[in-house]
Symmetry: C2
Subunit: 366 residues, 2 copies
């Protein structure tokens, strides 16, 4: 997609053919700054500090991180240690572990001397596949929007989006944003309600993306979605996910479950967009089985933004004497999900539909 | 209640016997600053800018504002003009209009020369009655907490609270906080989950209040409540309200409806605390009939807090190129409300229960 009119992916190989470049997403949307990564600890730190973020994207960065580690130590022990280091950076994200497992399985049979190069190539394939999957998600989701547009007779299709399941969180296109970009590019009028997405305000990234691409949108606080749906101002909810269980339960950014409840209460379709690596066929009941990251209190207590005179400042917004609890994700039960938009089409949020569409993955998990 | 160990109300008459004092709530919880009001425009500005806030409290400040206006112009025309000016400051808040109507009705039959003093005295009675109502709400709500405490065998009763239905929003005690303060003072262990309450972060005020009173609590983002309920971490939801309809629909701070949906989905009791002036017997269907304030985009786009070196700074947290929509309230339908805690006891959220408990108000509205 585009930043300042220039087409780019969210991760790329630098001109040296080995290092990778990413946007420092802690500086967005205020400043567009690029980071170059060339070691495993640097990749791990970029993931842990959320300089890079988004389930599919951290899978790719993690995969390159493994290649960097093997460049320094190509032994079996080095592979195991680097895998563990990278996997621990974001325990909830299944894509990260999936990508690390894939690269590790690919290089383990190889002679140590060939492992780093093979890992690097495999990371590149994961990136290309992610872009292709998101293109396909866009194509699969587009008819949901065109059908509503037809019903609305030319009035904008109003889509509510939570967090940043956008191209900045993937390699390109985004997941939940892919159908929106496709629809916009096809000349369909859309208006996107962008949830602020506390505590890390990833909605600001979604708003930044949409603004750079020229898609009409308005940012709202996370509290507003129920009201908007109640008043008939939302035609469709689109979210991404960090992990979908074999049953179709959806683990996503904290607050997603509340939007799903509101969509259900107001008969608004609630769709989840995901590339299939996000499906975890080893887990069935999302609420019982998925551990939820508790993150630093600072994410809630502090907010960073730009002052009127252009400085980036961090301010504390919670009284000093108060404790803070910070849960990263919640689980939306499958019963509240209208459908899952995957690279193989729109599926019901059910074991049968998921296993039917991805038999090779479901079978392997048994 | 207490600030820095000192017992105080949230509005008081100054030593001159006429001006009133309030806390500048735009500075809380960072700085405790008092404002003195002695004119109607100053009172109106304090309400409109949310230097003073909370449905019951702005009713009292508005009532004093009418007294100040009558001191300057005690004519019928002056009364009408001041009533209109003050009522327009916060159109959603029914208590404000109720208090203004009450003072106006009280002074209209009087000779102009006696109107200002009579209005001032009536405002004082409204303040005293508010404190008494909140004490009674605390007494009515206390058994809800003691029953849960008994079931939990001494473990803390975990209460989720949205916005600041606390003593800073009323004259004293608060509405939804009144049962909590009563329970805490009675030695019952409570733990309060405090919703941040974007966009104005009134949760910081609730956290400040609770910290000053020594009540254990943790601030969470508005997105977290569903997850907490899903994991069995909430025993009771307590909220306040700006307006309750004759049917029991609850208009309250944006996001309340989402918490009510989550409580319903997880069998968590959802109670609304209110003094009876908050009931609007002239309105039945809250969703269809209550206009929702759209407030300034700046409330969403900007956040104010304290920097590490102690300065109060405002930072913009939304990209410059993005539009913002800011809805102040939503409506929780009566079907999602377990009960209404009033100064006359806990009632079902139904026309029958409300009219039965407040026949003089229900009858007058017909």
């Amino acid at each position: 997609m585009r930043i300042a009119g220039e087409a780019t992916r969210s991760v790329w190989v630098e001109t040296d053919g080995w290092s990778i470049g990413i946007f420092d997403q802690r500086r967005l949307p205020w400043r567009v700054e690029r980071l170059v990564l060339r070691t495993c600890p640097a990749a791990a730190e970029a993931i842990a500090t959320m300089a890079t973020r988004g389930a599919p994207l951290i899978g790719v960065v993690g995969a390159y991180g493994l290649a960097f580690a093997l460049h320094a130590d190509s032994s079996d022990a080095g592979l195991v240690a680097a895998h563990a280091l990278l996997a621990a950076t974001r325990p909830t994200a299944v894509n990260l572990r999936w990508a690390l497992d894939r690269v590790a399985a690919h290089v383990r049979p190889l002679p140590p001397a060939r492992r780093a190069g093979a890992a690097h190539a495999e990371a590149g394939r994961i990136a290309d596949e992610d872009e292709a999957m998101n293109r396909a998600i866009g194509a699969a989701g587009l008819p949901l929007i065109t059908e509503i547009a037809a019903r609305r007779g030319g009035a904008s299709v109003r889509i509510l989006i939570h967090c940043n399941p956008g191209w900045l969180a993937t390699v390109d296109w985004g997941t939940a944003t892919a159908p929106i970009y496709r629809a916009h590019d096809a000349g369909i009028a859309v208006h996107v309600w962008v949830d602020e997405t506390r505590p890390r305000n990833q909605g600001a990234l979604t708003a930044f993306e949409l603004a750079e691409h020229g898609v009409p949108h308005a940012v709202v606080v996370d509290n507003a979605g129920g009201h908007l749906m109640q008043r008939g101002e939302v035609d469709l909810v689109l979210v991404g996910t960090d992990r979908v269980t074999a049953n179709g339960d959806v683990c996503n950014k904290i607050g997603t479950y509340l939007k799903a409840l509101a969509a259900h209460d107001n008969n608004v379709p609630f769709y989840v967009a995901l590339p299939s690596p996000t499906i975890d066929f080893t887990v069935a009941d999302g609420i019982a089985e998925i551990p939820i990251e508790q993150r630093s209190a600072d994410e809630v207590a502090n907010m960073t933004g730009r002052t009127a005179d252009g400085r980036i400042e961090t301010v504390r917004v919670i009284p000093e004497g108060s404790t803070v609890a910070n849960y990263g994700f919640d689980v939306t039960p499958a019963r509240l999900v209208t459908g899952l938009i995957t690279e193989r089409g729109v599926l019901a949020a059910s074991r049968k539909a998921l296993a039917g569409a991805f038999p090779e993955r479901a079978g392997a998990a048994e």
